[in-house]
Subunit: 344 residues, 2 copies
Amino acid sequence: MTKPATMKQIAERAQVSIGTVSHVVNGTAPVREKLRKRVLEVIAHLGYQPSQLARGLRRDTTNMLGMVIPDITNPFFPAVVRGVEDVAFNKSYRVVLCNTDNDPAKEKAYIDELRSYRPAGLLIIPASERSMSSELGYSIPQGIPLIFLDRRPLDWKGDAVMVANEEGAFQATQYLLKMGHTRMAMLSGPSHVTNAVERMAGFRRALAKNNVKITPEYVQETRFDRDSGYRSALRLLNMLPRPTAIFAANDMVALGALLAVREMGLRCPKDVSIIGFDDQDLCIFTDPALSSVHQSGYQMGATAARLLLERISGKKARPQQIVLPTELRIRNSVVAPHEMHPKD
Amino acid sequence: MTKPATMKQIAERAQVSIGTVSHVVNGTAPVREKLRKRVLEVIAHLGYQPSQLARGLRRDTTNMLGMVIPDITNPFFPAVVRGVEDVAFNKSYRVVLCNTDNDPAKEKAYIDELRSYRPAGLLIIPASERSMSSELGYSIPQGIPLIFLDRRPLDWKGDAVMVANEEGAFQATQYLLKMGHTRMAMLSGPSHVTNAVERMAGFRRALAKNNVKITPEYVQETRFDRDSGYRSALRLLNMLPRPTAIFAANDMVALGALLAVREMGLRCPKDVSIIGFDDQDLCIFTDPALSSVHQSGYQMGATAARLLLERISGKKARPQQIVLPTELRIRNSVVAPHEMHPKD
DNA sequence: TTGTATGCGTTATCAG
DNA sequence: CTGATAACGCATACAA
């Protein structure tokens, strides 16, 4: 029996009509107990599984949740996925994961195709703030609930779940300032991504509030990966005077910076303090343990999934833009700047 | 236009039959250039995407590759996924990711449902060596290409892609032995998972070859996550005499061990040497940098995906069990045992 | 080269 | 309560 059983076969074996089988499968109408049992038996016997394709075609929707993420290789995103999956699975939704590799073209390809599978909803961490904007040649999918996570398109007015990026970055920068740093650098993340922009804003606000002038060369735009952080940090570290503190837009970038520091024969935190963003699990293991702005990817995913499921079940409330908290986690990668302990 | 365009609409607008539209979409029959262009224009204009549901139902297969992994939270698996996705995407296949959380029941639920979506193929990292065995109440899906990765069901005779677990573990253990360790412990991973069993075998072989007796309490079965490694390491570290070296079945477990060492006020490697398996990116960042047996998750995924695509396109060659190499990467988490530098 | 018609496996509507 | 039957959107065999 190489082919899956169909409803028709079940119906024949159980001596009922195909409609009746459908009713017992879906509980969509009462069925006489005797028949019901017979049908259920045949189903169990044949290991029948309803064709999701046929069902989806007919119902014009499936139990899939389409999820689009930029980089599965950055552990922050798997954490988000995990959060989504945990709440989705329990409600009988399955998540279809698409990795865009931060490529808007790939993102478009994935989303377009995803739609043609008629998922019940979409969860998108956009590759860029211009993702899915009209300029990009396509618009927001209509008629299917959609939530943005972590970042959002510039003009998006619908549901979204993010974190307090500006505030988190502000806290981190404040802390650096309070430790006495003034030669403050930032590895900023991509300027076309909203959360990076917000983190940058927090950085700037803290500097302004403390009247420390921003040195333009000290803020370097990076991608959100380790290698990009590494290369930009190298640039930073070769400047004169050298910055004494680096705020990295995420932990991957911070790790790259750590690598650069080592490679230049410098020491963190003695020669340069570093602080990251995300507070991934590995922060407690690095040498030195990395101070970072904590956010919970799991919470973000779970929250978004819950909201999405509400939308799917028809809740019509007006759009929510949920902002989850961030919190500075202090470890060993920051110390007062060099000048303040001249004995070195 | 809230609903997706259908072929019928395209046909009407382009003044052709629906069959013709199908032919230009699929290149399944020559169409007069004039008509072809007209159809293509309408398609572009309406942003038509063929319904994958309808297509799948009709063709009895889709462009989806079902992929099942045990724990998206362990960075090794996302690396595998990335490898799969890279080769799949280029060939127009999409990967549907399912996270089983190492739960056989969840695994079964996912696989059963996956099948009803008629994916072109399946890539499975099984939760247990008994996954998909008949005892578990269901058998290997028929009629759809299937490849196991990383681990395999005990009696599986079909395609599989793994790494040289036994050999890698042997090398690691040899190295520890050569450094002078004799009180050798292992955090073994789950005994119901083939790669853990193989790693254990390598460990035992090395000990046997060097005539060092195995201390049964020194080998602790763990899960493959950090927390389990942490707890088991704590047990290990409280034994008298205390083992001087720990071989962890993967890096997550090794990290847990590192944590335990710290928490007990001990030092790695001075008091206890640790070596991991996987050689994840973070190994170079830990304190101390973690020695580990390298394997490439990306390669594993890419290799498996290539093999799967061959099967999908009908290649009938006999089953392949591909074994990728492993290689010991020495860093700073291992040193000669305490007794050998008694000055401490 | 193009059009027509059938069926893929379901669900849903409508009689009975 | 149960049984026919018509879509759902597409691919394909067959006719024209």
